[in-house]
Structure formats: C-alpha cells, structure tokens
Symmetry: C2
Subunit: 119 residues, 2 copies
C-alpha cells in the first residue's frame, strides 16, 4: 500500500511539511495521561468525593500515589481540595471549572474505549 500524499488529507498548512504537534495538546495529554490521573478525573466527574471514596473507586492505586496525584491535579488547577471540620477532619476533592470542562474529552475517550473493548 502506498502512503497517501500529505495534500490528500490536508492539514491546512501549505508548506508540505507535517503540522508540528500542538504544544497545548501535548501538555494536556502528558498531564492527564500520567499514571492514574485520568482514572481519578473520571471518578471525580460526577461530583465531589472524600479521599477514601476515590481510593475505593480506583482499585489498584495506593493511598500514597493517590495523594501525590491529587496534589499534582490541585497544583495545575484541575481539582479543588476542601477540609471538613470534625475529628478527624475529612478531606474532599472536586473538579474545578477547568477540570469539569474536560468532561467532553473524557466522555469521547470513554466511548471510544468501550467501543474497542480496550481493557
């Protein structure tokens, strides 16, 4: 089979060169693709959860790594952490506006994964 020429399915560039990967997209996929990050975001997409609930919904993920990922997701602005008074205090996590806007991408990827029976 012959490779089709670039012009047959144009990328919108007229230099004949392949379009360089979008740096924003690359940053996004590297962020969400970090081991377990996607699963955590998926779990939080219906609403806030306590730490133990997230741990339960993502089998195979250690508490230590879950803490680290949640902190990273908080640092990039995808997740918000809330401390609830009590003894002991409980900590919940929810998606920020930025995190919630990931929903269409998560949904599309989930639909694709289901269609192709990925697991």
């Amino acid at each position: 089979m012959e490779a089709r020429s670039r012009t047959e399915r144009s990328t919108g560039t007229d230099s004949g060169q392949p379009e360089p990967v979008c740096p924003d997209f690359h940053a996004a996929v590297e962020l969400i693709g970090k081991r377990w990050a996607g699963a955590i975001l998926w779990t939080l997409s219906p609403g806030p959860l306590f730490f133990a609930e997230i741990a339960q919904a993502v089998p195979g993920l250690s508490d230590r790594l879950l803490s680290r990922r949640l902190r990273e997701l908080e640092e990039v602005g995808l997740v918000e952490r809330s401390v609830h008074k009590g003894t002991p205090p409980r900590v919940s996590y929810e998606l920020t506006a930025m995190g919630m806007e990931l929903e269409p991408a998560i949904r599309e990827l989930g639909a694709w994964a289901k269609r192709w029976n990925l697991s």
Copy 2:
C-alpha cells in the same frame, strides 16, 4: 465549603457508592497517555507520514523512543506500518480505523488544552 452528597449529581448507581472507574477508559488513558503517544497520534491524524516526518513534527522525541512508541501503537492496533520499495526502503505510518476513531477525543482534548493555555 461542604462536599455535596453523591446523590446531588447522581452517577446512575443507587448503592451510594462512587462508581468504579471504567476499566476500558482507564486502559485507554494509560495507553494514549504514555509519554509522546498522544503527540504521535495527533501528528498522524491528518494522514500517513514517513518516519522522518513524524520525528520532525514532534520535537524533543528521540528516534529510538519514536520507534518504540510506533511499535507499541502498531501492536495495540492503532497504527499501521507500510514499507515502500526503494533504496533504502522507506517506512510510513498511518492510523488504523481504530486510531482514526480517536479523533473526536483528540479534538476535544486539544480544544480544552487551547482554551486553558496548557503549555
């Protein structure tokens, strides 16, 4: 701020437990989230490319790692490899039907990344 109860944004389960992460989704995000895999798929989405063209479109990725990722993407059925006669023979890569069907997810993620200026 109080955590909303699970029922306020129901996940469709009536057990009151958080919905376990979808194994297909998890497998998909771990696959596409592998370092550079998303960028390679993005680059191939407008059409077939020769190895050197992919390398050029994804700056910072070594030829060795690009080879490895392409082989992995081929093994899972996302990418198809074609050898073209010549001296030396040239090798091109293109998305399979399964790979092409990722396009909506890639597009959504790209739009989100652009909106939030992720890079």
